[in-house]
Amino acid sequence: MSFLRTVAVVMRKDLVVETRSMEVVYTSALFAVLCVLVFAFGFVQDGRADSAAAAAILWIAIAFAGTLALARVFDRERQNETLRAMLLAPVPRPALYVGKLAGVLTLLLVVEALVVPLVALWFQAALFRHAALMAGLILAGSTGYAAVGTLFAAMLARSRSRASLLPLLLYPITIPVIIAGVRGTAALLQPDADLPVARAWLMMLVSFDAVFITLSLWLFEPTMTE
């Protein structure tokens, strides 16, 4: 079976499973919304907040909700050892990785579709003023984060201490992605948006994505068979 067809089959399966339970979307979205709400109480004074704070809180909510989603998506695969069943199939194993990544990324984007307007509303942040650039930053940042997260979550799926190990491994490595996301978003949220700086951070995120996805594709098979 072709690489892209395998990706589509795995991603479709993940989305069907999620639409049956809505477990990942509900828990991740609730967590992200509560996170933004709590920070809004701390940082918003007289209906205004520092634009940099809004950027940082948006990306913290994305990172934490993403970790929750990654852990749960791979918990499902562990419970009945279905990850092993997929690894046994006569398909390129990196295609399984990309399929899982696409599924996780889709769920993360659904959560972000809820969180971004809330940050814009509660922090009075102009997140939609340069909507295309903002969407690019969120898509590229989420892709980089999910790329590393999917690899680590798959590696740790059978580990007893996966709940504590996943954030321990994931956050230090994805710090460049989070920082680039925060700096790019902050540049867009300034009263006079600094578009060249935002574009530079977007390019940085795209570079991170290329590096992280390439490394993950290379590492997925050996880490899954040992």
């Binding site: 092993r84 046994l88 199939a89 398909v91």
Partner: protein
């Protein structure tokens, strides 16, 4: 015969370590097409590790595993398409229906005419009427029947079964035994680990015992499989 196909499975001096723990120690055996081989042993003896290596999910620390004349590396992706595994965990998604589970794996195995394949498998498992129900609502026996059909979906040459009789009633055990005999008659190599020796007594062509990672053939002789196993363990 397709290039990835094979008619024998050979473990040649296979050793597998997990850190300092030795799970398999210089294991050597050969199984031929049309043969049912039982791997017996206490919990922790290395049976699941042996099946994982045969399934290409683990690589040996030393020694080699040959599928016909080729290694897992030589056979690559196509070789995996000739192997079917029924694990102790059933490799099924509880949120998906019986038909969706089979269809997902049929697509992963690149099978043509997925709907017909799924329908035939559900009929064999006597689950056609429950095709649209989520697996989470199934009894253990129903799940086991479905899992067996999932493992056999692509008519594998090598069928690896880890404790397949667990939780099955007499009727379901009988159906499973019949399916294993069908696989044997169709030329599959069937390797089964179990503690339920009575269930496989009439099926097994060869048996060997794993003790602390070492494999020894079960001696032929009088008495039932369990009696011979007990006397082997005691000696």
């Amino acid at each position: 015969m397709a290039s990835a196909d094979f008619t024998s499975l050979t473990f040649r001096d296979v050793t597998r370590h997990f850190g300092r723990r030795r799970a398999l120690h210089h294991v050597t055996f050969t199984c031929e097409a049309g043969e049912i081989v039982a791997v017996l042993g206490a919990n922790g003896a290395g049976k699941s590790t042996l099946l994982s290596i045969a399934a290409t999910l683990l690589t040996p620390s030393a020694g080699s595993v040959l599928y016909g004349a080729q290694s897992a590396r030589d056979g690559g992706i196509a070789l995996r398409g000739r192997i079917g595994v029924l694990g102790h965990d059933l490799y099924l998604y509880p949120e998906l229906t019986a038909a969706e589970n089979l269809a997902f794996f049929a697509r992963l195995y690149g099978m043509a005419n997925v709907e017909a394949v799924v329908s035939a498998s559900l009929t064999r498992a006597a689950l056609l009427e429950c095709a649209g129900e989520p697996v989470s609502s199934f009894s253990r026996g129903m799940r086991q029947r479905l899992a067996l059909e999932r493992a056999l979906l692509h008519s594998p040459r090598l069928l690896l079964l880890d404790e397949p009789f667990t939780g099955l009633d007499d009727t379901a055990s009988g159906v499973l035994r019949e399916r294993l005999l069908e696989s044997k008659r169709s030329g599959a190599i069937v390797v089964v680990t179990t503690h339920d020796l009575e269930s496989i007594e009439a099926l097994v062509d060869t048996a060997f015992v794993l003790t602390a990672g070492r494999a020894e053939p079960l001696r032929a002789g009088p008495g039932s499989l369990r009696q011979r196993y007990r006397s082997h363990v005691v000696s």
